[in-house]
């Protein structure tokens, strides 16, 4: 069953077509990677799906319901969460509060003016901190964490929403190889234990081929190929795009 059904999706930035007529579906339970060179339109694609940008044309259905043009907060409520390529946290709150607030929002308690904020979802906040390995940093100011840790926090904030489908935009960008391995092992494990459907973009091909069940290739805003990892590895068009770019060609 497809949880995301995308038809003819197009985004025109005043003449520059960043996403061009993309038709795509995401199957329940799969781990699907979107790859493509820088500027291919991966982030724009995510922005269109999650309501951050309005499409110029086309439609997005989530679990059979049209969500095109819905504001992000409504889409998140349906169970479609995302993380961001560029760090997007609450920088002057503590790490703990970052996650706790996300849980408050998930439980619709963000309009409760007479229940103490600090007392909400304490256990679950701790559990999430443990899960992403930020337990010792709980009381630090989020914006002062190392880059890799902020990325972990970014992930935890998204997980707190308890999504059924999670979109991760370059979850390991800027991480050291060791941090990358840890982060990916974690994502993989969480996806398994929570039965998450995962759509992610990633520049590190060893990561992509390590965890993806299916891979789609975006190039100049167009979806040029989609299939199993071994099909993609041998797809001549994919090889051409990547060979043309130089790096990652060996993968």
């Amino acid at each position: 069953m497809a949880v995301l059904e995308i038809k003819d999706l197009t985004k025109d930035f005043g003449g520059f077509v960043a996403i061009n007529d993309v038709t795509f579906s995401l199957e329940k339970g799969e781990k699907h990677a979107i790859i493509g060179p820088n500027g291919a339109g991966k982030t724009t694609f995510f922005n269109l799906i999650t309501g951050h940008l309005e499409p110029s044309r086309g439609s997005v259905d989530f679990e059979g319901k049209p969500i095109t043009g819905m504001p992000p907060h409504k889409i998140v409520r349906l169970g479609l969460a995302r993380s961001f390529q560029r760090i997007n946290i609450f920088p002057r709150m503590t790490v703990y509060e970052n996650i706790q607030t996300s849980l408050i929002a998930r439980d619709h308690k963000h309009f409760s003016m007479f229940s103490p904020g600090a007392a909400q979802n304490r256990e679950e906040t701790r559990e999430l901190l443990d899960l992403v390995g930020l337990d010792t940093e709980a009381l630090e100011i989020a914006g002062e964490l190392s880059y890799g840790k902020q990325k972990q926090l970014e992930l935890a904030i998204s997980l707190a929403e308890n999504p059924s489908v999670l979109l991760l935009d370059e979850p390991t960008a800027g991480m050291s190889p060791q941090e990358t391995n840890e982060a990916i092992a974690l994502v993989d494990e969480i996806a398994k234990s929570r039965g998450l459907t995962l759509l992610f973009t990633e520049h590190d091909m060893s990561v992509v081929f390590g965890i993806a069940d299916r891979i789609s290739v975006l190039h100049h805003g167009e979806l040029i190929a989609s299939g199993l990892p071994e099909e993609m590895r041998n797809n001549p068009e994919v090889r051409r795009v990547y060979l043309g770019e130089g790096d990652d060609a060996a993968a």
Partner: protein, 313 residues
């Protein structure tokens, strides 16, 4: 319960409250008047900070809600001869609803556009107060406000103000430290991300604006009785600017900062007026100092000094 006020803050609050409660013992009209006015301005500034410090928007028109609270209370008490128990809550409700109405429009915008629209609505309130002479008294002001007997007198009124401001501040503190208040900080910190954790950020900012308006209305309603009158100036932009400066001077990232700023600016103005005719110049300098040296206000300065003394660096 789960409401944890830091020990030091709680202790300071108690000391300040006890000190205030003892002020009438000094038997000085001057001291009682000054403290009554400072309490009113402190609540006014604290209410503005729900918008500024917590929701991350700037209002240039907060005086409008102070004025609406003042006029409503004055008119209901005097023209309609209603008891305080009706007039006062009605005044607070009127301010809150007016603020909710304005927020409906302002929250479509952010940053300077939001601020300019709050100013525009405040000018509208001022114009109504000015033109609707039969109800508001126009530019003569609404004079001769009926003050209920039980608080008619300097000392009883002082205690009425002390109790009302204390209770209001306690409720405001709870709101700011509630699940709502914490989420509001998240909206201030990163409005985009707040949307992506499932928060309707426009509604949150609107709710903050309405709460702020209601509490400004409380301050205004007290002030109308204290002065036995309400004047169009109370809705005029310099009044909005003054409370904004109070808030920034005290420090917008601390709950009590604005109250400290209100006291500081009020006392500075009093003393400056005794020694010079150049209060506007002094005010300009204060503003420059805030912007250039004290972006987190007096509370920020205090924290920095404390950190330096403790850290030994």
């Amino acid at each position: 319960m789960g409401w944890n006020m830091p020990r030091g803050v709680l202790f300071t609050c108690i000391v300040v409250l006890v000190a205030l409660a003892l002020i009438p013992m000094a038997d000085s009209r001057y001291l009682i008047d000054i403290s009554t006015e400072i309490m009113v301005y402190a609540l006014f500034a604290l209410s503005l900070n729900v918008i500024i410090g917590y929701s991350g928007n700037v209002s240039f028109g907060h005086a409008a809600y102070f004025a609406i609270g003042g006029y409503t209370n004055a008119i209901l008490l005097t023209t309609y001869e209603l008891p305080l128990i009706v007039a006062f809550p009605a005044a607070v409700l009127a301010s809150g609803l007016a603020a909710a109405f304005v927020a409906y429009f302002c929250t479509r915008l952010t940053d300077i556009y939001f601020a300019m629209l709050t100013l525009a609505f405040a000018m509208l309130v001022w114009a109504i107060a000015f033109k609707w002479r039969s109800v508001t008294g126009g530019d003569d002001g609404f004079v001769g406000v009926t003050v209920p007997e039980f608080i008619d007198g300097r000392v009883p009124f002082f205690y009425f103000t002390l109790i009302t401001v204390t209770l209001s501040t306690a409720v405001l503190w709870m709101i700011c430290h509630s699940a709502f208040g914490q989420t509001l900080v998240a909206v201030r910190e990163n409005i985009t991300r707040a949307g992506f954790i499932g928060v309707n950020t426009r509604l949150m900012r609107g709710a903050a604006f309405a709460v702020a308006g209601a509490f400004a209305g409380i301050a205004g309603a007290i002030f109308a009785m204290y002065n036995r009158g309400v004047y169009t100036e109370s809705a005029f932009w310099p009044e909005s600017a003054q409370v904004l400066i109070m808030t920034l001077l005290g420090g917008m990232y601390s709950f009590f900062g604005p109250a400290i700023g209100a006291a500081a600016l009020y006392l500075l103005e009093r003393f400056a007026n005794e020694y010079t005719e150049y209060w506007p110049t002094v005010l300009g300098v204060i503003l420059l100092v805030i912007v250039l040296v004290l972006p987190e206000g007096l509370v920020g300065l205090f924290k920095r000094v404390k950190a330096r003394m403790v850290g030994g660096r």
